[in-house]
Structures are given as structure tokens and as C-alpha cells.
Amino acid sequence: MDHSKLDYSKSGKLSEIKINWAKPEEVETFAKTVKHYRQDKISHDDFRRFRLQHGAYGSRMTEDYSMVRIKIPAGEIHPRQLEKIADLSEYYSIGSAHVSTRQNIQLHWVILEDVSEVMRGLAEVGLTTREACGNTVRNVMCSPLANVCPNEEFDPTPYAIATAKFLLRNPLCQSLPRKFKINYTCCDDHGMARIADIGLIPQHKEIDGKIKKGFKVFLGGGLGNWSSVGYQLEEFTPEDDLLYTILAVIKLFDRLGNRKNMARNRLRYLVNEMGWEKFRSIFLKKRQVTRTTQSIIHKLDVDDTPQEYTPPVVSVETSSTPAGYSRWLKTNTLKQKQDGFRVVFLAFEAGDITSNHLRMIAQIAREFSAEGKIRNGFIQNMALRWVAESELSRLYSKLVEVGLAKTGALTMASPIGCTGTTSCNLAITNSHRLAKEIQRKFLELGLDNDEALQDSSIKISGCPNSCGQHEIATIGFYGGGGRSGKDMYPLYTMQLGGRADGEARLGATCIRMPAKRVIPAILKIIDVFKSERKQNETLSSWIQKIVEGKGETNVKSVRDIKNILEPLTKAPLIKEDKDFFMDYGIGESYHVKTGKGECAA
């Protein structure tokens, strides 16, 4: 081993943790409150609200276990923090952690009485679970490509961090009618700005001969029951108005949100019931009032000190690069706007990662990323940014060596699968495992390397709620139950043509597909696409045409696809094919079983 590299990686100068999100006294309070709850000194409902406020979600069929959701504001995480999470996952969870679609890291099946210990460990490295669940402002997201995206006008990261700082533990956000999500992204192409309660895209505008910073702001988007694409508030929201805008939306939601009916109580219901124009005019007044009546002048604490970068270590090794390098380069990396650097995405299976791999990623980030940290992505993955192009082959060798070089990170071969029946109370199907099965199949068939499929996506939810974001997938699925005679089987409703970029739209419902036929159905669609497509057409653009009813050959509409897939949906007799009636994963024959959701708690 080259010792200069080792020293560099140990120097850790850039991996200093600058922001402390934690508040150690919350650890003691949590431990004490659990005791009081067990002694019946506080009611179940009060305890549940408290638990969720502190980031601990009940587990499937039991409240004795928690899913502990660690907030990672803007998705930025330091090597030391990853190492701590690795330890905590071994001590108190299942030895694996999970990267969520909202850039959180989750530890599952933690015993309720141990949650305070997890919080204690997190506080040691400046992390918190506070307001990661419950009716609060959830993790403030920021594009994993922020600051390196070639399309972006400026880096939104400092704004995302400042927003998170301002709102965390803010009295205003302690008892909202429902959860509230804020997403910053880098540009129109990469991100989720249109499917959040507040979505923001950085934008420059010339005003009075001066270039001003500001944002394109979208309101009232979101997935789930009554999914909606957000409305753009105005042409340009100047930087100075950012905080007032955010505050005014939250205050309006707080005041007007439908507290009587939790199930219809996200900002999007308010906007849709009122109508966008009316909402907008009330909002504008509210913002005006907010601007003029804030007793203290609030300002976001935007830290725009330029980030330091350690010049990359020039590799002296000339050892050969393992096979598969070009495939990995194509399917897992993107060029940064800064010459000579790339972003490298690490693909997991449905966001699951072992404690050992977490430790390795921490080490690799220190060694290979000039910013010395990691960003959680939007699709249950992680991004290693600021990797010098000259170091890429060495990094690839390293990733192969430790088993982190799975290809297809940025392709259809890395499906999203929500937690499903692995731990969620509301789940109807094992969407989590299905995502893993699809990924394995795609990699086995080399489909990640197929350029025509690269801009497509597969996203799976285990129930009609949208934690798996199925409505914005090229091919999306949500779980349900089917019946053949007296026998039940797991199935998925397939939706086509969803997307979350500048052309955001929700997927069109196509067909209900038995769980064990989902993979053949996807492969069938790919086959049909290949025989039908025009030159250079991608699956995503082909499906787009079909969803709009503009298919040009034999397949013209979603109905045509439905007809093609119909034969796959036929249920066999249970004695002929028992497997058809079982969901993925170890278990008995299928029956729908759900508990009470805590989303609306």
C-alpha cells in the first residue's frame, strides 16, 4: 500500500463536521419518556406523537420496535458520521442501514428502549433524528449534484442547509397539520422540485442591470393519495424573499390545513381544493404580511464561504483496471461542471447497505473525494463527488475489491423499492425485495448497459401510498392484493410514463400485474419497445408517446400495452403453481395484512 495515500486519508482535514444538528438533552428526554410510557404515565397517543417528532417510527405489526430515521440535511454526510451509523446499525439494528429516497438514513427494527442510545451515538457526531417523522418539516433535501451539475445556475446547498437550520426545532413547525417537505434541486432535469410541498430551483435574473440570485419556486406538489405536480409560484423569487416565502407557506398551511381529516391534509389538498389562483393570491398577501410584521428580522444563515478542495492525489500505480470499467463509467458516473472531475454514484440494492460497506465508503470518500464527504442521492443511493478523472480507474479497482462496484446506478437497473412488508405497517406487498429481484435480473441480462433504457426508471411502492414514488417512474408499481377463487395473491398496479423533471407528469395506470409476473411484464415491454422503436428512440420517450396516445406503429396507447400484457395476468390454479400465490421473501401463502399507519399520526 502506498503510504502517502494512507496519510492523506487519515488527515481528515476536510471531513470536519461543521454543523451540529444534535441536541444532547433530547437523548435523556427520550429515554425518560419511554420509561414513563412503559409505566403508563403518558398516554399512547401522546407518546406516539412524541416518538415520531423524534424520528422513531413504529415497525410492522409492533410498536416495540422502531425504525429510526436519521435526518441528513441536504444529503450531506461526513465519513465519521457514516462510521458512527455503521456502529449503531450493528449495536442496535440489523447490521445494515437503509438510504431513503429523501436522503435520510434509516435503521430498522431497533428496540424502542434502545432508541435513545442510537440518538446518543448520533449526537456524538452531530446528527439528529429530530423531526424526521411526524407532522413537521421533514429532511430538507438538496440535489446530490448541487454545485457540480453542468446545468445549474448556482449551488443551492448553502440555502438548503440554512433552511434546515432555520426550521429544525422552530416552534412554528412543531405541530403542523401534516408533514411538510422541502426539496432543493440543481436544475430542471435533476430533481424533485415539482413533487414537494415547496420545491426550489436556483435561478439568476438580471434586475436593474445587476445579476440577482433567486429561485424558481413550486408549491403544492407531492406524491401519495391525490398526487400532484407543484405549481410555479412566480417567474422569479429573489433570494431575499426566500425565507418569507417559506415561512408564509408554512404559516398558511398551519392555519388552513385540514386538521379534521388527516388523510386529506397535505398542502396539495389545500391548494387543489381552494384552486391554485386563489391559494396564490392568499399566499401573496400572507407573504407581504410576513415580510413586514416579523418582529425580528429573520434572515437565512447562508454560509457561502467557498468550499475547500484538497487537490487529488496523483496516482502512481499503473496496475491494470479490472474488467467492466467502461460499463461502470457509463452507468455510474457523471461529468461535473468543473473540468477534470466526476460524480460517482454507488448503487445498492433498494438502498440497503451493510455496516462494513458504510465504513468502506467513509474510507473511500476520504481518499478519493476532494470534498471529503458523501452525498446521499435521490434514489436510495450515494454520490461520491469531486473524484479526479485521473483517479477513476483506481477508484473503480478499489470498489471492485470491496464489492461496491455494482453497475447501473444511474439507469433503469437500479429500481426504487420502498420498505414494504419488511418493516412498514401499511405495506401490502414486499416491494423492497421485488426491487432487488428486478435489479439482479437487469444486471444479469446486462440491461444496465443498454443506452436505450438508461433514462428510464422503475419505482415500486408496497401500497397505494407513494414512498416508492411509483407515479414518477417510467414504469411504476404499487402493491395490492388479488384474488383467484378463494386464494389471494400479491399484485402490483402498473403505471407508465411518470417523470419528475421539467416535464413532470404522473404515470398513467396500465394494468394490475401479479407480483410474480412483474419481471416478465417489464421484459415484455422492453421487447415490444425494441421491435417498435424508431432509431435512437429511448424507452422513456417511446412510453411518453404512448401515454399521450401518439404511438406511431402497432402500439399506440396504454390500452395497447395493456392488451399485450394481459395474458401474463391470468392466475393459475394454486396446486399448479403455488409460488404465484406467495410474495417474495420467506413466508406463508399470501394474505393482506396491514396495521395502522403512522404517517397521519
Partner: protein, 265 residues
């Protein structure tokens, strides 16, 4: 070194005891590993040798051959996060040895901090150890069946979480062995362990029984963690879940959840 109510011993104390020749150190690793290098003065007792016949008579024979009598302080170490060493230490306690402790780091850590090792094989004059069995630290399947009802015993399953969720002895609580260690030491500091157990409603007057998958290693570590935290009256169900299942005793499962599919292993 003092009478070991201390459960674990740190490297400095052990080194000074070795210098004084006031301690017998037992290395639990495989013979070939021991032959390569070991802590100076230590003798080798591979766990497999002990498990092949762990009758008190046989154990006393081994102990005698290492030159250990009732008064010899013993320190045990391994390279398996203390679990194998715990099983041996417990066995010595069971035959009535009262001064046995665990080295608080593994052999790898010992080497990593550049402490002395040797290849020299040690032979000590044979001694005579008595047998005064301590049944109160042993639990059997039969005992377990009624212990909870009769004594309000707390059953502690020291296996990993997913194994526990899948199947465990009815009523057992789960304290995975990894929860007991820190990144440097085989056991967390006493105060920390105390806090963990107290969070779980375990107190110094609880009766506790630890078990794990098969031979009482992980649960041996569990046994010493509880002891270190001064948690009451602790027993080891030495034949653990493997025996329990082979006896077709009842088990409990966390049902209706596919938790295994969350593992990235």
C-alpha cells in the same frame, strides 16, 4: 491483581501481572494460531478442545495441566471479540474457580498496539484444582421452562436481531452481542452497560439467563456483560437455542414481516 469481581482486566494490569508471574493466561485460539504467536507466558486451550468434553472432570484435568490451582488468578483471551474467551471463563467459574477475568481487548488489538508476543510454548508444573460446582450459574432447558413464571427471570437472547426476530425462546428479550462491545474493547464501560440494561428494565435484583445460538459463546459474553454491570443473578444457558430447538420446545416469532429482505448481507 485483585480478586476478580472486575470481570475484565486491561492490558497494563495484565502486563504487570505477567511480569510478577502472578497470573495464568489462557489463549483460546486454534493451536496453529497460538503456535505462531501469543501473549508471553500464556497456555493454549482451543475452544474446540474444551467443547469436545466439557465435563467437570475433564476440565479439571486441563486446568491442572496448566498449573492452575484454586488460588491462581486466570486471564482468558481470544480473537473473537471475547465470546470464546467468555465461554471458557464461565466454565472455570462453573467448576468453582473464583478468580478468572477476560482480557478487555482481543489478541489483534494487543498486537495492533504493539505489545509483546512470543512463539515460546510454555509448560507449567501440574497442580491440583478442586471441583466445587456452581449450579447456580448454569441454566438448563428444564430450568428455563419454569424460570420465568417461578422466579420472574429475564431471558436474554444474545444473537443478532434478525435471528432473534425469526425465532426465539418465548418471552426472551434480545440484546445482540454487538451491543455489548465498543470499537476498542470487548465490553463497553461499566456505566454504559448499566445504562443499556436499565433502559431495558433490567435491575441489580433481576434473575437473568443468557443464551445464544449453540454453545454459549455469544451468551457467554452476554453473561460477563451483565456481571460487569453488576446486574444481579446471572446464569448461562450453555446449550442454548440449538438444544432448545432439538428438544422441540416452543418458540416465538415476529410474524408477518419480511425483515430478512432489509439485510444487505
Amino acid at each position: 491483581m485483585g480478586k476478580s469481581n472486575s470481570t475484565t482486566i486491561d492490558v497494563d494490569s495484565l502486563r504487570s501481572s505477567i511480569r510478577d508471574k502472578s497470573v495464568r493466561v489462557i489463549d483460546i485460539r486454534k493451536e496453529e494460531e497460538y503456535k505462531q504467536d501469543h501473549i508471553p507466558g500464556s497456555v493454549n486451550l482451543p475452544l474446540a478442545t474444551l467443547l469436545s468434553d466439557d465435563s467437570p472432570e475433564k476440565i479439571v484435568q486441563l486446568v491442572n495441566s496448566f498449573g492452575i490451582d484454586d488460588e491462581t488468578p486466570v486471564v482468558v483471551y481470544d480473537n473473537t471479540f471475547g465470546a470464546l474467551a467468555s465461554r471458557v471463563a464461565w466454565t472455570l467459574e462453573y467448576i468453582g474457580h473464583s478468580d478468572v477475568s477476560l482480557l478487555d481487548v482481543t489478541f489483534d488489538t494487543w498486537k495492533k498496539i504493539c505489545l509483546e508476543t512470543t512463539r515460546e510454548i510454555n509448560d507449567y508444573p501440574k497442580k491440583e484444582h478442586s471441583i466445587k460446582l456452581r449450579p447456580e450459574i448454569l441454566a438448563t432447558a428444564n430450568y428455563l421452562e419454569t424460570a420465568k413464571k417461578k422466579n420472574g427471570s429475564i431471558l436474554v437472547d444474545n444473537r443478532e436481531r434478525l435471528n432473534y426476530l425469526e425465532q426465539h425462546i418465548p418471552g426472551a428479550i434480545n440484546i445482540p452481542y454487538r451491543m455489548l462491545s465498543s470499537s476498542e474493547k470487548i465490553l463497553k464501560p461499566k456505566e454504559e452497560l448499566k445504562r443499556l440494561f436499565q433502559n431495558r428494565n433490567i435491575s441489580s435484583d433481576s434473575e437473568l439467563v443468557t443464551y445464544c445460538g449453540s454453545v454459549g459463546t455469544l451468551s457467554g459474553l452476554g453473561y460477563y456483560a451483565l456481571k460487569k454491570a453488576e446486574m444481579g443473578n446471572t446464569k448461562l444457558y450453555v446449550h442454548s437455542f440449538k438444544e432448545w430447538k432439538s428438544l422441540e420446545k416452543p418458540t416465538e416469532t415476529q410474524e408477518s414481516a419480511h425483515y430478512w429482505d432489509l439485510s444487505a448481507e
